[in-house]
Amino acid sequence: MTMDLSVRIGSLELKNPVMTASGTFGYGEEYAEFLDLSRLGAVVVKGLSLLPKEGNPPPRIVETASGMLNAIGLQNIGIQRFIDEKIPFLRTYDTKVIVNFFGDSIDEYVAAAERLSSVEGIHGLEMNISCPNKQAGWCIFGTDPRVTAQVVSAVRKATPLPLIVKLSPNVTDISLMAKVAEEAGADALSVINTLTGMVIDIKTRKPKLANRTGGLSGPAIKPVAVRMVYEVFKAVKVPVIGMGGIMHPDDAIEFLLAGATAVAVGTANFVNPRATIDILDGIMAYMKDEKVEDINLLRGAAHAI
């Protein structure tokens, strides 16, 4: 049986639907000794900003039941160093490189997108809109539909690269946010970013994270993420990249059935550095067992009544 695993994210063709989730795979090189990066559909790197960012004070992570909270604070080396030091390495692999980026103003988003668009070896951009807007009292870009529309359309004009908008789940109606991003020019949507949470130490009576709150990821959020992918798939025409708690092949297949075109593996990389490859192999085994010749046939199958 021949099997077609390739999927399309806008104009971007991936050899298979398994990607890495931003912030959980470093700049790719950290994992290169554990797996062949060329087997991945795409590598999505840690979120970058125009200038390097220090991030939050420690402790930055705390474990929770079947998950973890992180408050890294978007620490990164900045776009220029990424281009100089990391891209040459990534270019040696036969995979698509997607750069996750953010800014703290619309101007900064635009400048970052412009800078990244002229670099050979970057195949797509993923906009993280779950970050605070300095110009509007630090409210989150991804939770106010008007601001979301503004920032996405500004970035759309600034880049010819495939543009993925990564939605925040910390909203009342994710399908509304999805439609807003689609109308503003997104080629695809990543669903979901982390859910804001808190853990309090009962001895010190203080939050355990120095930042007080953090983003929840891991198996604990999977049912929420699957539901959100399901709703977004119904609401928009652009492809959806599903993520949130994918540990095993079965989890990834659930996301495809809910409507995802591709999936991203995040926290699982920390538990098993070869998780992406194990998930890819498992998806192929499932297709063989279920006699599915084209992975695209699985997409949204859970919507059929």
């Binding site: 959980t24 950290e30 992570i61 474990e63 550095p273």
Partner: protein, 256 residues
């Protein structure tokens, strides 16, 4: 793939009321671990707890890699009940190691509590050269004291309650040791692992006496390989990863 492997538990036995010694049968393809390095060890097949736990190399013997761990929470509670013959996933050896002292240097090794786990193999490797300052709450909490005696030049013990050695902290005895009139002053190098406040005081003492010091830091970890940026401490270069640029740092690099 040699730094990610399945290891068989050879032995997992209590050495104290709340401490176990774990011996792992590791594959030959694993790089040789050096004193100060650590491993990320699977404690559970399910998802709660989810993440691997960081443990220092205690010793590498003909039996395999040994880890000395304190039973502290969810993960180590599960680990302590794991049986001989079962297999667990391990990542490592990871991180930086203690740089060895030059021939004319006297190594001073500071171990506070479970910090002994990280410096034991250094004392062993320096066979007979190291002066060890070993601190614990009580006499009963001095783990592996007898084994240590075989490798150290001398061991200066302090306990909080005076039940063994000096009553007080090892920082006090280090300070007293360095303040003795000596001529000429020998060349020293300090190596330390223990609770955060101890490391801070040791770094201050090292600065005061102009001695190079290497200290082993701890932070909560998720990946152990430099990818998540979860494990940072503040250094003169900004927030720096304990799992990659550490756990062993030059003491003067740390911003306390």
């Amino acid at each position: 793939m040699s730094r990610y492997f399945k290891a068989e538990i050879r032995e997992n036995r209590p050495v104290h009321t709340v401490h176990n010694l774990l011996t792992l049968n590791v594959p030959l393809s694993m790089p040789e671990p050096r004193p100060g390095q650590f491993f990320m060890v699977e404690v559970n097949k399910g998802t709660d707890p989810l993440l691997k736990r960081a443990f220092s190399l205690f010793r590498k013997t003909a039996q395999g890699v040994q880890i000395l761990y304190r039973i502290r929470g969810k993960g180590t509670e599960i680990l302590k009940d794991m049986k001989e013959g079962s297999e667990i996933e391990v990542l490592g050896p990871l991180g930086t190691c203690y740089p060895l002292p030059s021939g004319d240097t006297i190594p001073l090794i500071i171990a506070g509590g479970i910090g002994i786990a990280s410096v034991f193999s250094l004392v062993e490797q320096l066979s007979g050269r190291a002066t060890v300052f070993y601190g614990a709450r009580t006499k009963n909490d001095l783990l592996m004291h007898k084994e240590l005696k075989g490798f150290a030049k001398e061991i200066l013990v302090s306990t909080d309650d005076g039940s063994a050695g000096q009553k007080g902290t090892i920082a006090d005895s280090l300070s007293a040791f360095l303040s003795r009139p000596q001529s000429p002053t020998p060349k020293y190098r300090i190596y330390a692992c223990g609770p955060h406040p101890l490391l801070k005081i040791v770094s201050e003492i090292a600065r005061e006496f102009k001695i190079s010091a290497n200290i082993s830091m701890e932070e909560h970890m998720a990946c152990g390989i430099g990818a998540c940026l979860g494990c940072v401490v503040r250094t003169r270069d900004g927030y720096t990863r304990v799992c990659k640029e550490g756990p062993v740092f030059e003491a003067r690099e740390i911003v306390w």
